[in-house]
C-alpha cells in the first residue's frame, strides 16, 4: 500500500515510457509495481513524465510570442474577430507595411545598433577589468567601494534619472549618443558578476604567470580573460539584452525622432495607439502593434539562439554555487 501511495504523481508517470507495464502497475499496485521498479535502474528519471511537464512549460513560455508573431501576419480584422484562428493561406504583410509607414523603426534600429556596439564594448572591457581588481587584489577601501556597488544595486534606478538628467543638461549632452552610452556603461551588476566569476580562477594560475615575469595587465589579458570566457559570453549576452531592451532612460534623454532607440520608437507607438493619435480603428492598431513587437523581438531572438549555448553556460559559470 505504502509503496503504491508514495510519490503517486511522480512515479506513476515514471514508468509510462513502457505503456503495457505501466497499466499493470496502476491496476494492481503493490508487489508487481515494486518488482517492476526493481528491474529498471532507479537512477533513470521518469523520462516520459518529465517530457510531458517540460513540454507544457515550453508551451506556456512560447505561446504568447508565437501567437503574436503569427497574428502579425493575419489580416488586421481577423486578429480581433478570431484571435485563435489560423489560416496560412490568408497571411499578409499589410500590418508590417502600415507600421513601417507610420513609425521611424529603421532609424530606431540604427541608433540601437550604435549604442549597442559602443556601450557594449565599454562594458565588456572595463567590467571584467574592475571585477578582476575586486576579486584578486587587496587594496584599502576595497570593501567600502564594493559595498557602494551593492548599495546602488538596491537603489531603484528610476530615482537616479532626475539627477542624471540634470547632469546631462549641465554637460549639454541631452539628445546625444554620449548620454545614451555612458551612464550605466559599467554597471553595478556587471561588476558584481565579474567579481564572482573571476574569484573562481585559482590564485596559483596567476602566481605562476607572475613568476614567469608576466605583468599585471598581462595576467588579466592572457590568463584571466581566456579562463573566464564562458562567464564573459554570459555577460555579453546579458549586456546586449539590457542595452537593446532599455527604454526608460532613452525615453527621458532623447528629444528628437532621429535619436530615438528602437524601444523608444516602440513605446511611443504604443502610447500613440493608446491615445489613438494615429486615428485608426482598433483592429488596424492591434495589427501594427503586433507587427512592431514582432520586428523588435526577432533580432534579439536570433542573436540569442545563435549564442544560447554560451549564454546559458555563462550564467552557469557565473552564478552562486550551492
Amino acid at each position: 500500500m505504502t509503496t503504491a501511495m508514495h510519490g503517486s504523481k511522480v512515479e506513476a508517470t515514471d514508468d509510462t515510457g513502457a505503456p503495457p507495464q505501466d497499466t499493470a502497475n496502476v491496476a494492481q499496485a503493490g508487489r508487481p509495481a515494486a518488482s517492476a521498479r526493481r528491474r529498471r535502474p532507479r537512477r533513470e528519471l521518469p523520462q516520459f513524465g518529465s517530457q510531458v511537464l517540460l513540454m507544457l512549460l515550453t508551451l506556456a513560455f512560447l505561446a504568447p510570442v508565437a501567437w503574436a508573431v503569427v497574428s502579425a501576419f493575419k489580416p488586421a480584422v481577423e486578429i480581433i474577430r478570431d484571435p485563435l484562428g489560423f489560416d496560412p493561406t490568408r497571411f499578409t504583410t499589410d500590418n508590417f507595411v502600415a507600421m513601417f509607414s507610420d513609425v521611424p523603426l529603421a532609424s530606431g534600429f540604427v541608433n540601437t545598433a550604435i549604442v549597442l556596439v559602443l556601450k557594449g564594448a565599454i562594458t565588456m572591457f572595463f567590467a571584467p577589468l574592475a571585477g578582476y581588481a575586486f576579486a584578486k587584489y587587496d587594496f584599502p577601501g576595497k570593501n567600502m567601494l564594493f559595498g557602494t556597488v551593492l548599495l546602488t544595486l538596491m537603489l531603484p534606478t528610476i530615482v537616479l534619472i532626475i539627477p542624471l538628467l540634470l547632469e546631462m543638461k549641465e554637460f549639454g549632452w541631452v539628445n546625444t549618443y554620449q548620454a545614451l552610452i555612458l551612464p550605466g556603461s559599467v554597471d553595478a551588476f556587471a561588476i558584481f558578476w565579474m567579481r564572482q566569476v573571476i574569484s573562481a580562477v585559482p590564485d596559483e594560475l596567476l602566481d605562476a604567470a607572475r613568476v614567469d615575469g608576466c605583468g599585471e595587465f598581462g595576467i588579466f589579458w592572457r590568463i584571466v580573460v581566456p579562463v573566464i570566457r564562458p562567464g564573459l559570453a554570459g555577460l555579453a549576452v546579458l549586456t546586449v539584452m539590457n542595452i537593446y531592451n532599455d527604454f526608460v532612460w532613452p525615453v527621458v534623454v532623447t528629444t528628437s525622432d532621429t535619436m530615438q532607440t528602437l524601444q523608444v520608437v516602440l513605446s511611443t507607438l504604443a502610447q500613440n495607439i493608446s491615445g489613438n493619435t494615429i486615428g485608426a480603428d482598433y483592429a488596424t492598431i492591434t495589427g501594427e502593434l503586433l507587427a512592431a513587437s514582432s520586428v523588435a523581438l526577432v533580432p534579439l531572438l536570433i542573436i540569442f539562439i545563435l549564442l544560447q549555448k554560451h549564454f546559458i553556460n555563462g550564467i552557469l559559470a557565473g552564478s552562486v554555487k550551492g
Partner: protein, 310 residues
C-alpha cells in the same frame, strides 16, 4: 592576501639585482588594482554615486524641479509614512511578491531538477525555449500582453469562450489586474530562475545521490534531504534578486496598466515614479530611500532565514 603570501614563499632569497626587480614588480602590483578600477570608478562616481548623493540630499528638501530647493528636514519621510497611498503601494508590491516568488521557486526548482538529468532528451531545446521570454524586450511583451488579455478581443477570453466559460476582465478589474501582471513578470523571468537553479544543482556531488540510492531513499526523500538543502544558497541568491526586482518593479505596470484600475497595480516602484511625474522630486527621493531600507531589510531577512539551519 593569500596570493601575496604564496608569492613570497615561492621566491628564493634574492640576489641584489633581483631584489630591485622584485620591488618594482611589487610596486606595480600594488598600483595595478587602482589602475584597473579607475575607468569604472570614473563612470560609477559620475553617473551612479553622484546622482545617488544628489537624491539623498533631495530627499530632505522640497523641490519642484526649478528654482531653489527649500530644506524641510524629515518632512518628506513623515509625509510618506503617514500617507495611505504609500502603504497601499507597498501592499500592492507585497501581494505581487506573494504571487510571484513562491510560484517561481516551485516551478523553477521542478524544471531545474528535471533538466538536471543528463539522460533527458531535448535538454538543449528546453533550456533555449525557457529562456526565450527572458530575452524578449519588455515593451514588446507588454504590448502583446495587452492584446492577449484584452477583455473583448483577446485570445485568452476567446479560449475561455470555446470552453464555455465567461470572459474575464484581466486588465480592467482590480481583482484580476494584479495576477495578470504577476503572470507577465513570472512568464518573463522564470526561465532565468531555472537556469540559476540549474547551476546550483549542477554543483551538487552526484555521489550523494548514489549513496542515498544504496540506502534505499525514495526520490522524493532525496529531493528534500539532498537537493533542497544543498541548493539553499542558490535559492537565497534567487529570492533576494527577485525581491529586489519585484519591489522595484516599474516598467511592467507603467506600460501595461498605468497603475490602474483603482491603483490596484500601483506598485512601490510606480508610486515612486508618480512623484517624479508630478515634479514632486523631494518626496520621490525620500520614497526611494524608504524603499531601499525596506528592500535591504527583506534581503537580510531572507539571507538569515535561508541560512538558519547551517
Amino acid at each position: 592576501m593569500t596570493a601575496s603570501t604564496a608569492l613570497d614563499t615561492r621566491m628564493p632569497p634574492p640576489r641584489a639585482p633581483r631584489r630591485r626587480r622584485l620591488t618594482r614588480t611589487a610596486l606595480r602590483r600594488r598600483l595595478a588594482p587602482y589602475v584597473f578600477i579607475l575607468p569604472f570608478i570614473a563612470i560609477f562616481a559620475l553617473f551612479s554615486v553622484y546622482p545617488m548623493i544628489f537624491t539623498l540630499r533631495l530627499s530632505f528638501t522640497d523641490w519642484r524641479g526649478t528654482g531653489a530647493a527649500t530644506w524641510v528636514g524629515l518632512d518628506n519621510y513623515a509625509y510618506l509614512l503617514t500617507n495611505p497611498g504609500f502603504w497601499s503601494s507597498l501592499g500592492n508590491s507585497a501581494v505581487m511578491w506573494l504571487l510571484i516568488v513562491p510560484a517561481q521557486v516551485v516551478i523553477g526548482l521542478l524544471a531545474a531538477v528535471l533538466l538536471n538529468n543528463a539522460k533527458l532528451r531535448m535538454r538543449g531545446f528546453y533550456r533555449t525555449a525557457f529562456i526565450v521570454p527572458f530575452v524578449t524586450p519588455l515593451v514588446a511583451i507588454a504590448q502583446i500582453w495587452i492584446v492577449v488579455f484584452d477583455q473583448n478581443y483577446g485570445p485568452v477570453n476567446d479560449l475561455l469562450g470555446v470552453l464555455g466559460l465567461p470572459g474575464i476582465g484581466w486588465l480592467t478589474t482590480s481583482e484580476w489586474a494584479k495576477p495578470t501582471l504577476a503572470l507577465l513578470f513570472l512568464w518573463k523571468t522564470t526561465g532565468f530562475a531555472i537556469i540559476i537553479l540549474l547551476s546550483g544543482l549542477q554543483s551538487i556531488d552526484s555521489t550523494l545521490y548514489e549513496a542515498a540510492e544504496l540506502d534505499g531513499a525514495s526520490r522524493r526523500r532525496q529531493l528534500w534531504s539532498i537537493t533542497v538543502p544543498l541548493v539553499r544558497r542558490t535559492l537565497m541568491f534567487l529570492v533576494v534578486l527577485q525581491t529586489l526586482a519585484v519591489f522595484q518593479m516599474f516598467a511592467e505596470p507603467y506600460v501595461v496598466t498605468k497603475g490602474g484600475p483603482y491603483s490596484s497595480t500601483t506598485t512601490a516602484g510606480l508610486y515612486l515614479y508618480n512623484h517624479i511625474t508630478r515634479a514632486d522630486l523631494g518626496t520621490g527621493a525620500a520614497n526611494s530611500f524608504l524603499l531601499v531600507i525596506l528592500v535591504m531589510a527583506l534581503s537580510l531577512l531572507f539571507v538569515r532565514l535561508l541560512r538558519a539551519k547551517d
